[in-house]
Symmetry: C2
Subunit: 158 residues, 2 copies
Amino acid sequence: MDMEARGHSEHPEALRLWLRMLTLTQLIEKQVRTQLRELWGTTLPRFDLMAQLERKPEGLKMNELSRRMMVTGGNVTGITDQLVVEGLVERVPVEGDRRAFLVRLTARGRSLFADMANQHENWIVAAFEGLSPTEVEALHLLLGKVKQHHHDSALETA
Amino acid sequence: MDMEARGHSEHPEALRLWLRMLTLTQLIEKQVRTQLRELWGTTLPRFDLMAQLERKPEGLKMNELSRRMMVTGGNVTGITDQLVVEGLVERVPVEGDRRAFLVRLTARGRSLFADMANQHENWIVAAFEGLSPTEVEALHLLLGKVKQHHHDSALETA
DNA sequence: TATTGTTATACTCTATAACTATA
DNA sequence: TATAGTTATAGAGTATAACAATA
């Protein structure tokens, strides 16, 4: 009997890798959340939603936002409501489907998001300045490979 | 489905990298949270707290837990309370300081955590199975470099 | 019947700050 | 005074499920 092989192995490399990645992501994420709150009184999900809309001037449907943000529809409703109250996004009727509508940035939302995105970019660049351009690229590729495999194996069971 | 697609066009590589890393982390994290909830009715913070204690059989003080988990003291109290109710951890008085105590796993907590950690490890190994051992190591090193730099620059401003 | 989106509910986590007890 | 930990508060995000309107 191989007792060594039976029990849970101490720390496979994948686990160490995950813990490091999770910690680092949480560290950066926490900084971003804090700054978004302190500078603009907003949150990461709201920023994310606006970021989705920024590249779609015509707007996005709720279910599309839900899919892209990986959260359920009810949650998107809440986040959107908040942004509507702040005058940063608006709901626009959709021709030919009276159930749906498009959510899009208002002029004010677009302007504010430009400022936020600009700062956000600075924070992120600072967070990774310990890497050379080559290393940034290598990291990007490696993560892409993980993501791709993850995506593929999710499809297999679908 | 893909938050990575959100940035604007003139993104530096660092931003693309961050979005990919954030998306991937959230993807894996969401799976872990869902499984922890479905299989054991628990949460990631509770799992994290138990994981911290598992490495320290004698237990950890609240402020030490707070530091390691990167959350404030009040939150640790809440999470600990819940685990105490479930009979998975216990508070033990500290000799020589009646303000403090050690939090440590109960026998039941230790046993349950072993099961959870075992499964958790499987999920993580599966998440990274798209990488070769060499690539896992490379990713680990790159993230370590980012983390180290992050840590160093935090010290500079302290 | 299925889809779009909202509402209702309950829970968890979070930060902040005031508080108690002890050092 | 400072530290260890708790309590109180308010806010946000989440999943789930029931619901209305429309397709």
